[in-house]
Point group: C2
Chain length 263, copies 2
């Protein structure tokens, strides 16, 4: 684990991140974690059967195998986050879903930040040597440090028949023009460091990536969904994605997974 606690997550060198692996803590890891050698960032998170405990166990196993690899927690529920996961992960990636319901773009986020503001001690417990008085006297600094470890992700979920769409209240996909609009809003208005086109379980092709890439300069463009070959990986990267996100085949088919890693 690279500690980013002091500097905040913004110190990450995003230019080095072109291949991202999404790991579901509720699924078994491949026997040989060497398959992760070529990936640049691991996102740990999922919905069904995911707990704080299996999230933490997964982060620990990944970091034991790859001490220098970036590992983010991407929690699907606040119940998966604890002072231990915040302490162990390099950052906590928090999705905001443009085409989801109100809760998944702003509602749950205000709840989370309200909780952080009210309970810095409980959330940060283990990371601080002098918890009680330190938090009382330095409450705002501690909160600022924790907040600096959160990475916002502006999501568009484009596959209605996915668990991600169901969970985030997505009942309509965006046209490429709307994807471009959401990308422009991310770059200039909401300011999340990542804009994420998520086809979750199916391959969406390069069209949305091509539309979004026109308006992104500081924001990093991630694409996830159905990438199971070098050809698809290349097609998405050539359309303008900064990084591809590969999930399912990491758990199911390590050979296919390795084919998606750019040389």
């Amino acid at each position: 684990m690279i500690s980013l606690f002091e500097e905040g997550a913004m110190q990450i060198d995003w230019d080095e991140v072109t291949h991202v692996t999404k790991v579901d803590p509720a699924k078994p890891l491949p026997t040989d974690l060497e398959v992760l050698s070529g990936t640049d960032l691991v996102l740990v998170g999922g919905s069904d059967d995911v707990t704080e405990a299996n999230t933490l166990e997964t982060i620990n196993l990944l970091q034991a195998a790859h001490p220098d690899k970036l590992v983010f927690q991407e929690p699907y529920s606040a119940a998966h986050v604890s002072s231990a996961t915040v302490e162990r992960a390099d950052a906590v990636a928090v999705p905001a879903v443009y085409n989801g319901d109100r809760d998944h773009f702003v509602g749950k986020h205000v709840d989370l930040f309200t909780e952080i503001g009210e309970q810095p001690a409980e959330l940060l417990g283990a990371t601080l040597p002098l918890v009680g008085r330190f938090v009382e006297s330095k409450g705002r600094d501690v909160v600022a440090e924790l907040a600096a470890n959160l990475v916002g992700e502006g999501y568009v979920v484009q596959h209605l028949e996915s668990a991600a769409a169901d969970r985030a209240g997505v009942d309509t996909t965006y046209t490429p023009e709307q994807v471009a609009g959401a990308a422009l809003a991310t770059e200039t208005f909401y300011g999340f460091p990542i804009f994420y086109v998520e086809y979750s379980g199916t391959y969406g092709g390069p069209e949305d990536v091509d539309a979004a890439a026109r308006y992104l300069e500081e924001t990093k463009l991630f694409y996830g969904g159905g990438i199971d070959s070098a050809e698809k990986a290349t097609e998405i990267l050539e359309a303008g994605a900064d990084a591809i996100v590969v999930g399912d085949c990491f758990h199911d088919d390590p050979e296919t997974f390795q084919a998606t890693i750019p040389n």
Copy 2:
């Protein structure tokens, strides 16, 4: 008008802004616009009977009387915005209402940015010497410049019996802890340059401002609602607001309005 088109709105020296006047284009202006001498920024916008035409006329009258004063358009509808208003105003302030409905935090914004992305020529028409081909070849640069002139405002609307609450679909006010949470979300996650506590028509006291100010460093804290005396202005500024916003009495009672301007 100070032209910010090239540099973008972020060049504004926010430290100089402590008194803001909200001007409703549908209401008559005071006979003597000298009353505005002590204010630092004018926001032009409103709902009932506001049009693009009376918005533009109001901006022109204000700029004729005070050529060096910052004047922002704060549109309540996209129909109030045109290439002429964008060109004349120093910036376009775009509210995102934390405790409003989905449309007023994200829905209308993606629509707006989608429109900007699709029609840079139409939106920017008058500002560019070589519109047609220039936009085609430099489309992205033009869009980036326009987008840089938008200033995001993270709003919390705290008076349910107001037109602002009705319009933005606000049906519940926030506790001071939730106001603090929304402030922290603004500072660290959404990144709007302004966090705005809006009591619209009634005086809310210093409690929300005090709660929000703890978590704001880069974000500027605006408070608006019911300020009709030097005492209330001082109370809000001492609680930690960077600026007070004064509206109604500017139109109705210029003497009271002048009393709200800090010395």
